[in-house]
């Protein structure tokens, strides 16, 4: 029997002759976050007016700082790159109904594992170094989040708490290794590992002039979308997410699916850490723990665990981050201004989840 046919066929379409439901459903999914985004911007404008600043100037600067020039667009995309991958770390298990909040540890440990794996090879071929780094980083991330999945699937430990606790254990392990065995004695103020060397750093992608993180992230998102919505395994995963008992009764390998989704998500987060090391930092240190894991959680929720929707959300938030410096220089606003706006957007869009199903026009019609 072909599960693929079911997945592509009638999965979201109700019975009956309601042909336009698919489009109205899509429209609802686009309108709800858009309304919420506008509400957040409106609220933030009031906030700025109360401080005696012009919201129009602010929005203009954000636009310019994020997308206005080639330079700012590059900055935006480079900030979005790790977010694409850390959001996948939440979205993949999210499709199975799990909430993983420990991506931050997978990022730092992935980056560290990639660095350690690269160190003995730094005088060989850069291509070899990159492949080894990617494998080591992804494997480390997969191991760490896969462990959460294993605890959940085999022992019944709640994944939210387990991933949070494992995140702290992972951070401690990272600090222990970076400040101990693998520390470069020359790094005094900011303990770091030995560098992977200039010649092994990832260059920029031709034409785009950004580091390869963004194409890798986009490819990962598309592949994950195909995996979730166009394959039998993905369908089995979505059934598990919809109703785990039903999935078990159908004889689906629920435990295996959970461990697999967590492992794959962790591999993405580990890859995010690897790319940060190979393209930006050149070594593993505390800069890896920049909160990508936590922002990734929110992006995944904003995208409702859909890998394709992750892309615009990551670019939006990357753009806000990129505009921060300009706002500080031009308007004299603290760099936390962007964080306030981000917080408002997150709260507003997450709250907009409640709008789904409230308006009749968007609901299935007819004798369904």
């Amino acid at each position: 029997m072909s599960e693929t046919a079911i997945a592509t066929g009638t999965a979201t379409r109700p019975a009956g002759g309601d042909k336009s439901y698919k489009w109205r459903h899509l429209l609802e999914a686009l309108l709800a976050p858009l309304v919420a985004l506008l509400a957040a911007v409106g609220l933030f404008s009031i906030f700025l007016l109360a401080l005696g600043q012009s919201p129009l100037d602010f929005l203009d600067l954000v636009w310019f700082g994020a997308f206005g020039s080639w330079f700012s667009l590059q900055n935006t995309l480079q900030r979005a790159a790790p977010l694409l991958l850390t959001a996948l770390c939440v979205a993949l298990p999210g499709q199975l109904g799990l909430v993983i909040i420990g991506g931050e540890a997978a990022v730092v440990l992935g980056g560290l594992a990639a660095t350690i794996a690269a160190l003995p090879l730094i005088h060989t071929n850069p291509l070899l170094v990159w492949v080894v780094m990617a494998v080591a980083g992804a494997a480390m991330g997969a191991l760490w989040i896969g462990l959460t999945g294993w605890l959940r699937a085999r022992l019944g430990v709640n994944e939210v708490i387990a991933s949070l606790v494992l995140a702290y254990i992972g951070m401690a392990l990272f600090n222990h290794l970076v400040e101990g065995v693998f520390r470069d004695p020359a790094s005094l103020n900011k303990p770091s590992t030995y560098g992977i060397g200039e010649e092994n750093m990832l260059g920029t992608v031709p034409w785009l002039d950004v580091h390869p993180g963004i194409p890798i992230g986009i490819i990962a998102c598309v592949l994950c979308w195909v995996l979730i919505f166009r394959t039998g395994v993905g369908f089995a995963g979505r059934v598990t997410g919809g109703n785990i008992r039903a999935a078990q009764l159908q004889g689906l390998p629920v435990s295996k699916l959970i461990i697999m989704a967590c492992g794959l998500g962790g591999a993405c987060a580990g890859l995010a850490g690897t790319i940060e090391v190979a393209a930006e930092l050149g070594r593993a240190n505390a800069s890896l723990a920049a909160g990508y894991g936590y922002t990734g959680i929110l992006i995944a929720f904003l995208a409702r665990f859909n890998p394709l929707a992750i892309m615009p959300m990551a670019v939006l938030l990357g753009g806000l981050g990129a505009a921060g410096g300009l706002l500080q220089r031009r308007m004299g606003l603290p760099d936390a201004t962007v964080q306030v706006l981000q917080g408002m957007i997150f709260v507003s869009i997450l709250a907009s989840d409640t709008l789904y199903g409230r308006i009749r026009w968007f609901q299935p019609r007819g004798d369904a």
Partner: protein, 307 residues
């Protein structure tokens, strides 16, 4: 070589360190415990902690009274927790994700308004000298305890009594344990959870005030080292019991002090690994409790992380 005397030094330093750093853990975990007892989880208390620290410091600087600062931190916690509580009352809103959004929003607002207060020094909370009888400056210093610590212990005992012996406590527990029972009894579920979340964050705000007004006793952007999020693990460890929260806070505080204490006697190995010790224990507790197949003993039945 580590001698017996060294072990004594380490134990002493750990106890002193634990007394010093456990207070924020205590308040945030008590707040989290209250919220979770009503059947909701609040990961946003990290943001409350940072915002509380900033508001407390700013208020203390502007008014000259650190106690006004503590009150203002409670107010900030009530507002931020109230926001979390209100939004999570809406249908289909995920409380785990919303908590992280509140965490980012709270720290953002704190950094935004806290910028002018990084430099000036505000009046801090006085310590209570428990070792007035001793001449040893080391001992006097170690036993100089913040009044908020005792407030926290009083709050833990009061909350224990609240859950065990009062009508309000019983209602919170019913709402947290079984939505069906609460509906059957006609209890106001959303309202109860809203109040429990707001008050829980109010308590967490006091933890923030401790950070900026006692130890470390200044306001800057790196003030909190994640105590607000750790509180979630701590409440699991304490099995949703307020009295256990006191022990758990002291233990988590002591574990954090273990590395630095060992360093004073020349043991530098594993400085960071000791931080992880309480989390390893929490994980073991989780695994052992989960082996029975059921959820954790003491866990409120309606908690989203328990289903």
């Amino acid at each position: 070589m580590v001698t017996v005397a060294d072990l004594g030094t380490v134990a002493g330093a750990m106890m002193a360190g634990s007394l010093r750093v456990s207070t924020p853990f205590l308040f945030v975990s008590l707040g989290e415990c209250l919220t979770e007892k009503s059947g909701r989880i609040n990961l946003g208390n990290e943001g409350v902690l940072v915002l509380g620290a900033m508001v407390a410091y700013a208020t203390s600087y502007e008014t000259g009274s650190p106690w006004f600062g503590v009150l203002a931190a409670v107010g900030a916690g009530l507002v931020l927790g109230g926001l979390h509580g209100a939004v999570c009352s809406l249908a289909r809103v995920n409380d785990v994700a919303m908590g992280i959004a509140i965490m980012l929003a709270g720290t953002g607002i704190a950094f935004f308004f806290g910028k002018p207060y990084v430099q000036p020094s505000a009046p801090l909370l006085p310590g209570i000298p428990l070792a007035w009888w001793s001449d040893s400056p080391v001992l006097r210093n170690a036993l100089l305890v913040c009044p908020l610590f005792f407030l926290g212990i009083a709050a833990a005992i009061a909350m224990h009594w609240l859950f065990r012996a009062t009508r309000v406590g019983l209602r919170i527990r019913i709402v947290g344990d079984s939505q069906d029972a609460a509906l059957a009894l006609g209890l106001p579920i959303d309202w109860t959870r809203f109040l429990a979340t707001a008050c829980g964050s109010g308590l967490a705000g006091i933890g923030g005030a401790f950070l900026s007004l006692y130890y470390p006793g200044s306001w800057n952007e790196g003030l909190s080292s994640g105590q607000g999020l750790m509180a979630v693990a701590l409440v699991v460890f304490a099995r949703w019991n307020p009295i256990n929260c006191v022990y758990a806070s002291l233990l988590f505080g002591a574990a954090g002090a273990l590395g630095p204490s060992l360093q004073t006697v020349g043991v530098t190995w594993g400085y960071y690994l000791f931080y992880a010790a309480p989390y390893v224990v929490t994980l073991v507790v989780l695994i052992i409790s989960a082996r029975g197949g059921g959820s954790l003993r003491g866990m409120p039945g309606q908690l989203s992380i328990g289903r």
